[in-house]
Amino acid sequence: MSTATETGARSGGRTALLVIAWVWVLAPFVYGVIELITKVVDLFGG
């Protein structure tokens, strides 16, 4: 019983870690892409 609980807790912890890790790297990446798109607009629209 306790083994199953530990396994479940470990799995939940890993999922949380996975989400945090991807947000950690994707958040600044998205910021960079948004900044870049605003410059690209000038090429054809400016």
């Binding site: 470990r10 799995s11 890993r14 870690l17 996975l18 890790a21 991807w22 950690w24 790297v25 600044p28 990446f29 910021y31 960079g32 892409v33 900044e35 870049l36 410059k39 690209v40 607009v41 000038d42 090429l43 054809f44 400016g46």
Partner: protein, 451 residues
């Protein structure tokens, strides 16, 4: 020298149930940081104004950084393979962050040589070790999709400048003094140390004999160009395959960097005097667009190579790249859209060429010392970094002296690029499976696959 316990390879063997999808963010945390190097130009003008430097002098930290990248990747590759990815990521974090902190001290005290030594020398070692640190680990975790896995990481290197460029600019403001630049360097050093720490903490290597879910055996000889055998880094240098790939990388990068390095003045010169001239803001938009396709090409083309094969994707990069250069050379300034689309595709092939390389090396030389082999091959990048700008800048300057203007400044360069890409195409055609005499004995293969 023994590796401290926390950093040792034995301490980061993944426990059962560990998800391999944690390894790409670990790799990205390193590559997105060291990719800042391509945004060095943001610091150039402020340094020139405050420390009274020439343009050549302010470029020295970046140039030394790229030289150190090539050297440390080439000479540190074997060490990275031996000590494991956590050690490599830790060293990269330490060096890259220390580079900024030393630079902060240099600017604060008005000693530019400290910036060159810090950012270029010590930070450059961080670039090289960091660049190769996750490569072999990703390939071992994703034997079913090595192109996609290394594509994600190497896309990060392309994306690093996208983050750093607006971030650093915002921090510096419009007219920064030495104190502002020193503080900016200090903040960069600290923030990158924290950001890269994620990679150091969560990177894991697969346990011996680990296979991806749903796979029970190695896909040996599934394709004739994929070898199940392993070749050491020392032996790889003796094979014609290594040198063919060196030529392929060098010429593909030369062709891309020729446009990348001069993108803004090139598009401005091309359409000067036409009905659709390109202003400064639009030229900056063109540069940004090329950065985007360079970055996306790393992920998209490298992922596609998992399905179509490495040799075929390089045929595509080099063959279609040749045709695209020909289209630009023939249509000149007839259509802005055609020019921009061709340049975008060429730059996507430039990025794709970088990102597909580790998987190509894995196919030919196995996983045993693929990181070290990759590091040695990156010397082709250093050569191309000199060759590409030398061709395009040298010819443009000479044509300008001869009184030429517009697309005529670049036509000769484009025909040279076409020739280089054709040579690269032929070199790729010469790549064959590595002869058995270079393979490692089976015992070494097992040691090499130990995670």
């Amino acid at each position: 020298m023994a590796v401290p316990g926390f950093l040792a390879r034995s301490r980061i063997v993944a426990s059962p149930g560990w998800t391999r999808w944690l390894v790409p963010p670990a790799a990205l945390s390193i590559h997105l940081s060291i990719g800042q190097a391509y945004a060095w130009s943001v610091f150039k003008t402020p340094l020139e104004k405050t420390l009274h430097l020439s343009g050549t002098e302010s470029g020295l930290p970046f140039q030394l950084g790229i030289v150190m990248l090539g050297l440390s990747a080439a000479f540190g590759g074997t060490l990275v393979e031996r000590n494991g990815p956590r050690w490599a990521m830790f060293v990269a974090t330490l060096c890259f962050s220390a580079g900024f902190l030393i630079s902060a001290l240099g600017v604060a005290t008005g000693q530019f040589w400290l910036v060159v030594l810090g950012y270029g020398g010590i930070g450059g070692i961080g670039l090289g070790i960091g660049y190769i640190s996750p490569v072999s680990t990703l390939i071992k975790w994703f034997p079913d999709r090595p192109g996609m896995a290394t594509g994600i990481a190497i896309m990060g290197f392309g994306g690093g400048a996208l983050i750093a460029s607006p971030w650093s600019s915002a921090m510096l403001g419009s007219s920064p003094g030495t104190g502002d630049i020193a503080v900016a360097f200090l903040i960069h050093g600290l923030v990158y140390a924290v950001f890269m720490a994620l990679g150091v903490l969560i990177v894991r290597v697969p346990a011996d004999g680990w296979r991806p879910p749903g796979r029970t055996r190695e896909p040996a000889a599934a394709r004739p160009m994929i070898s199940a055998a392993n070749v050491s880094a020392a032996n790889a240098l003796k094979t014609p395959q290594f040198w063919c790939l060196w030529i392929v990388l060098c010429l593909n990068v030369t062709a891309g960097i020729g446009i990348l390095e001069k993108a803004a003045p090139m598009i401005t010169d091309f359409f000067k005097g036409t009905s659709a001239p390109v202003g400064t803001a639009a030229a900056a938009g063109f540069v940004a667009l090329l950065s985007l396709t360079n970055m996306l090409g790393r992920f998209v083309w490298s992922s596609i190579s998992d399905a179509v094969g490495r040799k075929n994707i390089y045929r595509f990069y080099l063959g279609v790249g040749t045709l695209l250069y020909l289209v630009i050379a023939l249509t000149t300034n007839g259509s802005k859209l055609v020019f921009v689309l061709c340049a975008m595709l060429i730059l996507s092939f430039y990025g794709g060429g970088f990102a597909t390389l580790p998987a190509y090396l894995k196919d030919l030389f196995g996983t045993y010392q693929v990181g070290a082999i990759h590091g040695r091959l990156l010397t082709a990048w250093s050569v191309a970094g000199v060759l590409g700008p030398l061709i395009v800048d040298g010819i443009a300057d000479s044509e300008k002296s001869a009184g030429k203007t517009g697309p005529d400044l670049y036509s000769t360069s484009f025909y040279i690029m076409i020739g280089l890409l054709v040579v690269g195409f032929v070199a790729n055609e010469c790549v064959r499976p590595v002869k058995e005499k270079y393979h490692e004995p089976v015992d070494h293969n097992q040691v090499g696959s130990e995670a």
